[in-house]
Symmetry: C2
Subunit: 321 residues, 2 copies
């Protein structure tokens, strides 16, 4: 199955009532700074604090009853873990989450709080995949990957679907790209409803595999990624890349200092809590203000899960950044 | 003129297009914590970051053209100053803001950024009032008080009007009380649309003049107010108090540590930036969870203007709070 616009419409119908229809906010100050009309789709206000809830809910609700009864499993230390645990609880089925022993206690607590069983493993990709295979073999659970999956792509696309339905006549839609679930879903949704609009991915300069892959015409892995955007460090997915190649206008890379400045603007001026990965769309818009001048620009704020003791503009106790 | 429900409807029509229709957010975690269904009216996401924009816009737009042309004036170091400056700019009229020399530079910059003229004065009430009288005598500007004013009360009431129209069947509406503009307006709006619902004011324990005034049956001034809620340190207004006496079910007082805990919950769980005064409604709800059990509760988050370098749960550089 290849995911298409119809799948996004089906996902939207499937997950309605299980997710928040998040608000679209505007801010006159940010409009002035950018010289454009900016419409922020606030997925940081989504359940579990991130758009990941959409894909996880779509995947869990897509399962046939017998399959669902055996539960779901994944490996993740981030927002996908919480989202899958939350979606499984909503359907009343078990969830097993393989998490590296290095995952922060607060993230383990959040996953456990949704009633999922945490399976600890060594913090390597090999250990994560091996442990997950064992869990799946033992339980019969269905593996729900974080982004390289049609059900996930379709679910993530529902955020842009809501945005484009609510704000008429957008010229551009900007969203973060890590594994590419959100960007591929966004591109499919926008193309389906508003084919003239340009979809752009915003990617950390220190984890720019999608931009490099587009330039090379083939998927290149991310190497030694370094960025404050901890949600955007993975390589773009196998199923995600061809959709991005076909439908995305460009991927704009953004240095970390611009991301942090954008994050602070969103806290100060729009009064919303966003994580660095969530603020990268605004950072990209401000860096490309010339190109966007006078346009109507949708920006997806993808998540708000950030440690409030360690906001990046604060020096750590006893030091100055 | 005594302000009534019709005035709130008129204010809503007058200020439409000049203010944000702010979203109502919900949060399953906070519902579980409180044992009730909580609906948060996000006035922290209002223009200038506070509900004050509603009253200021209503007052400025109520002026007759000749009166408006001479401009508006007030004394304030807080959100009302920014709101009046912003509303005056929207109507294209001058604004003079008397601000104590001790006002933070960031607040002066915000007011100046809206094109208002700042008149510095000594940080005493007498100096503020004298300076304001001089400005009004010199310019012919109309004085727009921060809360003790019918146009302001009517404007502030439009937040609860939107909330009650959007969320059917609320049993309670909670909002902060300082000078009482928001609480009086909220009580009038709720009484007009939903007479069975109970309106409650949330007041800092260290600035509890409204609670004491209600108990005494007469307006008592606040004495030596001390609270982290810097927006709620004033005495309840002369025009505000009789409305509150007549229509408000109760005023619940809240200690600062509960306010800070509620503020942090709103950042962490609902991903919104609120100032301490803005979080006091949730703090009051959590402290009275027994009374609210199972009910549908509207809570007005009144503002989000907080220094992001000095969030109250962070130790200051070099010290630990």
């Amino acid at each position: 199955m290849s995911v298409d616009f119809e799948e996004i419409l089906a996902a939207a119908a499937r997950i309605e009532g299980h997710i928040h229809h998040t608000p679209v906010l505007t801010c006159a100050t940010l409009d002035r700074l950018c010289g454009a009309r900016l419409y922020f789709k606030c997925e940081n206000l989504q359940k579990v604090g991130a758009f990941k809830m959409r894909g996880a809910a779509n995947a869990v609700l897509s399962l046939a009853p017998a399959e669902a009864a055996r539960g779901v499993a994944t490996h993740s230390s981030g927002n996908h873990a919480q989202a899958l645990a939350c979606a499984a609880r909503a359907r009343g089925i078990p969830a097993w989450i393989v998490m590296p022993t290095t995952a922060p206690a607060v993230k383990r607590a959040a996953v456990a709080g949704y009633g999922a069983e945490i399976i600890p493993c060594e913090p390597t990709l090999v250990a994560r995949e091996t442990t997950l295979r064992d869990v799946v073999a033992r339980t019969g659970a269905t593996f729900i990957p974080p982004y390289d999956d049609e059900r996930i792509i379709a679910g993530q696309g529902t955020a842009a679907l809501e945005l484009v339905c609510e704000v008429p006549g957008l010229d551009w839609v900007l969203c973060p790209v890590g594994g590419g679930g959100l960007l591929a879903g966004t591109a499919l949704a926008v193309r389906g409803l508003l084919p003239a609009a340009r979809v752009v991915g915003a990617e950390p300069a220190g984890a720019d595999d999608t931009a490099r892959s587009l330039a090379a015409g083939q998927r290149l892995p991310v190497v030694d990624p370094r960025s404050v955007c901890d949600g955007l460090l993975t390589s773009v997915g196998e199923r995600n890349f061809p959709i991005i190649q076909r439908l995305v206008h460009a991927v704009w890379t953004v240095p970390d200092d611009a991301v942090i400045a954008a994050m602070r603007l969103l806290f100060e001026r729009m009064k919303v809590v966003v994580e660095p990965s969530g603020a990268i769309g605004l950072a990209a818009a401000l860096a490309h203000a010339g190109e966007l001048a006078g346009a109507r620009v949708g920006i997806i704020l993808s998540g708000g899960n950030v440690d409030l003791e360690r906001l990046p503009w604060l020096g750590a106790p006893g030091e100055k950044q």
